[in-house]
């Protein structure tokens, strides 16, 4: 027990926080994206500890597998590798830092003063069968709307990022 929490949670939390902190402070954009991946991996470990296996593996597939790769691609398409930035922080970064610290203080105060002492009820780990049945019976409408949203978003992203075509049909 470290600080009143178990060792596995402490390690996963440290991995996540160090990854996020590195993403916040590093100067090289590619390093930022890689430390973001570490933070996503730590969060997946925490989901696995919380008996949410499906969400944990979805996190690994979607965030580490897709979003991180997408971020790296965007960095490489907009800027060369190895370019270290001179101006990393915005002009009013002190204001942003104060705002973030204020939000953290507010959230921490609310959590520490209001959470009753609850223990996790013992459950059987939800199976993929139960999750699939739940998606197909109870959540079938959100599932379909998500499918439409993903299709629209991906087509929209391709159209936004596509080079503009001139009237004679050729790319610029």
């Amino acid at each position: 027990m470290i600080f009143g929490v178990g060792l596995p949670f402490f390690l996963a939390a440290m991995i996540t926080l160090i990854g996020a902190l590195a993403a916040a402070t590093m100067r090289n954009l590619v390093h930022c994206a890689l430390s973001l991946t570490v933070a996503f991996g730590g969060l997946a470990l925490i989901y696995l500890q919380l008996d949410a296996q499906f969400a944990g593996f979805a996190q690994i597939l979607v965030y580490i597998g897709a979003v991180a790769i997408l971020v790296v691609f965007a960095i490489l398409l907009t800027r060369g590798v190895g370019t270290t930035l001179i101006h990393v922080y915005a002009q009013k970064w002190v204001l942003g830092l104060l705002l973030a610290a204020g939000v953290f203080a507010l959230l921490g105060w609310a959590v520490l003063t209001s959470i009753p002492r609850v223990a996790a009820p013992a459950i059987a780990v939800p199976t993929v069968l139960a999750i699939g049945q739940s998606l197909m019976y109870d959540y079938v409408l959100p599932l379909e709307i998500t499918a439409v949203l993903l299709t629209v978003a991906l087509i929209g992203a391709v159209i936004v990022a596509m080079p503009e075509f001139k009237k004679n049909g050729g790319a610029e």
Partner: protein
Amino acid sequence: MTPLTAYLLLAAMIFALGLGIALTRRVAILVLIGIELMLNAANLNLIAFWRFGPHPEALTGMMFAIFSIAVAAAEAAVGLGLVIAYHRHAKTTDLDAMTRMKG
């Protein structure tokens, strides 16, 4: 410190870090990274409340988190597409240089 408090405090820390990234960095892609971290903190809250709530067998919080992951993926695709389009147009991703719509 109860387990639920620890999870919620961790989520608050991740949210604050993401907000700090989104408010202090200059590069548009890093701002998107900060927004992704904030969404992840919200997902952690949902799953922690699902696990420690009175009816975890109903799967409600986990379903919400799974849908949130899907929406976050769509958001990342559109956001990065916008960054690439702006970079093609103006040759920069510096947010402090994006002043064309400033009043």
